[in-house]
């Protein structure tokens, strides 16, 4: 068992990790930038070290300072949380070289899954469905048409050097393929100086569904079912839930089994999330693996009753996971709303500043994960996540009702938050029916 852990993060996830450690009897060291000096969670750590100025390049992203802090405080391990250094392979390697346990996967698995091309190959090897496509540059029109007919329309043409939508075309039939191919090529040539394009099946209005998995050092790998994170705005998740309302138990098992096959293939250890696109026919396609704990992990904790951060720490300490798949059940429905210090009425502009009134929701079925409180000042230096509200109820309609009343109770003044935006979404007919996809927010609000 680890006995002393440095938390290389800040905000609600730093507090989340401190909580898990305290319950396990593990000592904690908090590191903080000068902007977070007065954060209340820093007081809860057994020791705290200032590592730099507010700029995260000089603090939370600064590897030498974090390693130095770990050395002078004599910790066994570092928990990177999410974001910052959590998926930085070099950081994980340096921890290892310094004799400090990195609470996360082995460097090799991390590197493999961090590379999108390698991860796709691995998925295919593990017979996990990926989005069908040309597996590299597509040749001439004839080859493109043959492939398009093989994988089935609609397809999307993407520039190999691409990004930002340029050199991208969605095509629905043979007739438009020719024109689209040449248009995409010229656009790519102009934008990137490189005209190569590839083809991929275009998944129409997909849901974003991800599977929480966990593996120990002795080859035991289990899943904790899925989360549906289709409520996104500009690829930022806003609301997550478990289970996915579209899946029945059979679909769920197929999806989860695919995730387990993939992480076994990668010789993975510790927590990971395997992300998929789910189409309207409940076919799923692997996208990528996140090799860390996620912001939305609490919804999984609520439906399964398992503390994922504690498992991360136990596994990193070399403990075998006594848990077997049959011991992991899911009960009821959990929903999480991310409350950001952003103004929905002003294009979600950040809204930093001091909090002069803070009255949090509570009561049955409500969990709050936050480092905020009245008197705390939201700094403009970091991301705008202010609090996560998670509700758990027997059924989805009850979970929605509980979340609505919790959001209505939540009073944070004078800063603007995403509470009204979350309420609008929760009241939307399509959300209530569970009929949403990753384009839902952009199309409806």
């Amino acid at each position: 068992m680890l006995s002393r852990i440095l938390i290389a993060n800040r905000g609600e996830i730093a507090l989340r990790i401190i909580r898990a450690c305290r319950e396990l009897g593990v000592e904690t060291v908090a590191v903080y930038s000068e902007a977070d000096r007065h954060a209340s969670y820093v007081r809860l750590a057994d020791e705290a070290v200032c590592i730099g100025p507010p700029d995260c390049n000089q603090s939370y992203l600064n590897v030498p300072r974090i390693i130095s802090a770990a050395e002078i405080t004599n910790v066994d391990a570092i928990h990177p949380g999410y974001g910052f250094l959590a998926e930085n392979t070099n950081f994980a390697e340096i921890c290892h070289d310094c004799g400090i346990t990195f609470i996360g996967p082995p460097v090799k698995a991390m590197r493999l899954l961090g590379d999108k091309v390698e991860a796709r190959k691995l998925a295919q090897k593990a017979k996990v469905p990926v989005v069908p496509g040309s597996e590299g540059v597509i040749g001439d029109e004839k080859e493109a048409m043959k492939l398009a007919n093989k994988i089935g329309y609609p397809i999307i043409i993407k520039a190999v050097a691409g990004g930002g939508g340029r050199g991208m075309r969605v095509v629905h039939n043979d007739i438009s393929l020719r024109a689209a191919l040449s248009a995409a090529r010229s656009e790519a040539e102009i934008a990137f100086g490189e005209s190569s394009v590839y083809l991929e099946k275009f998944i129409v209005e997909p849901r974003h569904v991800e599977v929480q998995v966990m593996a120990d050092n002795e080859g035991n790998a289990v899943h904790f079912y899925e989360r549906d994170c289709s409520i996104q705005r500009r690829h930022q998740k806003m609301i997550e839930e478990s289970p996915c309302p579209l899946l029945d138990e059979k679909d769920r098992d197929r999806l989860a089994d695919a995730a387990i096959r993939l992480i076994r293939e990668a010789d993975y250890v510790n927590a990971a999330t395997v992300e998929f696109l789910l189409d309207k026919d409940r076919k799923f396609y692997f996208i990528e693996v996140n090799t860390r704990i996620q912001v939305e992990h609490p919804v999984t904790e609520m439906v399964t009753g398992h503390d994922l951060v504690k498992w991360q720490i136990r596994i990193a300490g070399g403990e075998p996971m006594k848990l077997r798949q049959k011991d992991i059940k899911h009960h009821g429905v959990a929903i999480e709303c991310r409350i950001n210090a952003e103004d929905p009425a002003n294009n979600f502009a950040p809204s930093p500043g001091p909090i002069t009134e803070y009255i949090a929701p509570g009561g049955l079925g409500v969990r709050i994960d936050t480092h905020a409180h009245q008197g705390w000042t939201i700094t403009p230096h970091y991301d705008s996540l202010l609090a996560k509200i998670i509700v758990h109820q027997k059924t989805r309609p009850e979970a929605i009702a509980t979340m609505r009343r919790a959001l209505q109770e939540f009073s944070i003044q004078p800063i603007k938050t995403t509470i009204p935006a979350c309420l609008d979404i929760l009241s939307h007919n399509l959300f209530v029916k569970g009929k949403v996809d990753t384009g839902f927010v952009e199309r409806n609000f």
Partner: protein, 163 residues
């Protein structure tokens, strides 16, 4: 329950006061009752960073590991404006050494006159010895850390009376 609680609560309150006011020491005595508290590393309120000449060697890989432009800090101690002392603060996290080797004399002592290029100590971070220069001109009036002490970013190492 009463007495134990009272002590724990009082100590928690005192620790809060210490943290809020950056105190390192509180002693209270009432007859036979006594409470003594010490904090090793008082956080310092702010830092004006200036470039630091001894860079970390680029021995470690990765973007975040490029040779670091660290810094010393020298700012008037606003808490004691009457003394007008300058503070030399640590630009990095690590272990402080007063001398280049265990057998050597300390770089500086109370009374030593320093200029901006004078090395005042070393902070070891990830096995690298980082020389700390004074960056100001004046006389050392106080050493705020002990040899071998773990120090955090922005921690005051020396107080300097300017010329």
């Amino acid at each position: 329950m009463a007495d134990k609680d009272a002590d724990v609560q009082k100590i928690q309150e005192l620790i809060k006061i210490m943290k809020e006011n950056d105190l390192v020491k509180i002693d209270i005595k009432h007859g036979d009752d006594q409470i003594s508290l010490r904090r090793a590393k008082p956080p310092q309120p702010q830092t004006v960073a200036t470039p630091f000449v001894t860079a970390l060697p680029g021995a470690l890989p990765g973007a975040a590991m490029t040779p670091e432009q660290t810094s010393t800090a020298a700012a008037p101690d606003t808490a004691h404006p009457e003394e007008e002392l300058l503070e030399i603060k640590s630009p990095i996290v690590g272990t402080f050494y007063e001398a280049p080797s265990p057998d050597s004399d300390p770089y500086v002592e109370t009374g030593t006159h320093v200029n901006s290029q004078t090395v005042v100590g070393i902070v070891e971070a990830m096995k690298v010895m980082n020389e700390i220069k004074a960056e100001v001109t004046g006389t050392v009036v106080e050493r705020c850390v002990t040899n071998g002490q773990a120090i955090e970013y922005g921690q005051v190492l020396f107080k300097i009376k300017p010329d």
